[in-house]
Amino acid sequence: MSTTDPLLMHHMFGENLLNPEDGEQLCAVVRSRLLEGHDVVLDFTGVRIVASAFLNAAIGQLYRDVPEDVIKEHLQVPNLSDVGKFALKRVVDNSKRYYSDARYRSAVDASASTFLEA
């Protein structure tokens, strides 16, 4: 695999990564590069706050389309804060379960619609 230039999170989104919409934009770029066979580096230098909602949109949703072993082998997240790593670990664990366990996914989606209708 070849390595593309690191994606500088602070440069792309500022010091607070809060919006899932920004995460979705990032996800599209990362997904495309991983599926094209590149290594991807997300550099979090200069980032102060990372929302779990951003991480889920940016990285959690990769598990829908990109095989787990490809992500594990070819995605890096240097300089992510400790709390960011903690949040990312939770997001990744939830995503793996969500996208690999159809019964769990149905249950979550069903509860989501109930919640939204409440």
Binding site: N16, P20, S52, A53, S81, F86, R90, V91
Partner: protein, 292 residues
């Protein structure tokens, strides 16, 4: 003539929440029969941050129901009144205001979610006052963990009147505290929308919401409660989360789930950190190589 409601005093006893939930129930019952309500502070000798945030939200809830709220100013203990002036509560409620106090973290109400402003509140008004002996990086970590839960209050809570916050620095114990309260559907109601959790009681539902991997949000989001709980536990803080009749209490002796005699429909978060703690973080838990 207005219906008079007695505002209780607050303390560190966990039953303090019940007294305010009883006030909520009395206030809702009063609002059913009268549109004029007067708050009587006789006997109230202290109001902690969670009591101030709760009282602010209660007043807005009553106003949202069309009630007119007054206060018997002469009944307010001078120390309580001074504190309510310093933290901006009196101004927010349309009463008098003096300059901010040395140890107070302002009362704040967010009718709608405002991420950037709330992060500024956490960093500047709460953590940036020179009380906390931590680096900017650690202050950001605390702000990150607390902010996640603030966003949860909007996404889960569906509070018609928003989220109410207030804080306090306690110099004797070297502790900084922050409380935020929403008047929405509460954690148990949100959790019970999940099929596997639909039969849980109030206490069990709060436990479920704070357990790793559980979320009632769409699209696999909502790890904020887990993050905050872990952060508080790892850094030897204290936290009370009270919703309906369920009460999760985290302290140095561990986590306890309690059932209160009185509940209320929303959620109270009351979080305290040691201001002289030097080792904040998640390092003991995270293995950077093992994330994916």
């Amino acid at each position: 003539m207005a219906v008079s409601l007695r505002v209780p005093t607050s303390n560190h006893d966990p039953r303090t929440y019940e007294r305010f939930f009883k006030l909520y129930a009395d206030a809702m019952a009063a609002a059913d029969r009268d549109s004029a309500i007067e708050l009587d502070f006789t006997g109230c000798i202290f109001l902690h941050q969670h009591a101030v945030a709760f009282l602010g939200g209660l007043i807005r809830t009553l106003q949202d129901r069309g009630c007119t709220i007054g206060a018997r100013l002469k009944s307010i203990n001078p120390t309580v009144q001074q504190n309510l002036k310093k933290n901006g509560f009196m101004k927010a409620m349309g009463l008098q205001q003096v300059a901010g106090g040395r140890n107070t973290i302002p009362f704040r109400e967010d009718a709608a979610r405002d991420d950037t402003s709330y992060l500024g509140y956490l960093r500047d008004a709460w953590l940036g006052r020179g009380w906390v002996n931590v680096t900017d990086r650690v202050a950001d970590a605390i702000a990150n963990a607390v902010w996640e839960t603030y966003t949860n209050a909007f996404e889960h809570g569906q509070s018609k009147v928003g989220v109410f916050s207030c804080g306090q620095f306690y110099p004797t114990n070297k502790e900084i505290a922050l409380a935020f309260v929403d008047f929405g559907m509460g954690i148990p109601s949100s959790v019970r929308t999940v099929t596997e959790a639909s039969g849980l009681g109030d206490g069990e539902a709060i436990d479920w919401a704070f357990a790793r991997g559980n979320t009632s949000k769409p699209g696999n989001r909502g790890v904020g409660l887990d993050i905050l709980r872990s952060f508080v536990e790892l850094n030897r803080g204290y936290m009370d989360v009270v919703s309906h009749r369920g009460h999760l209490r985290i302290s140095e002796t561990g986590a306890q789930t309690l059932i209160r005699n009185h509940g209320f429909p929303g959620t109270v978060f009351n979080i305290t950190f040691k201001a002289d703690e030097r080792r904040y973080g998640f390092k003991s838990e995270i293995d950077a190589e093992g994330i994916f």
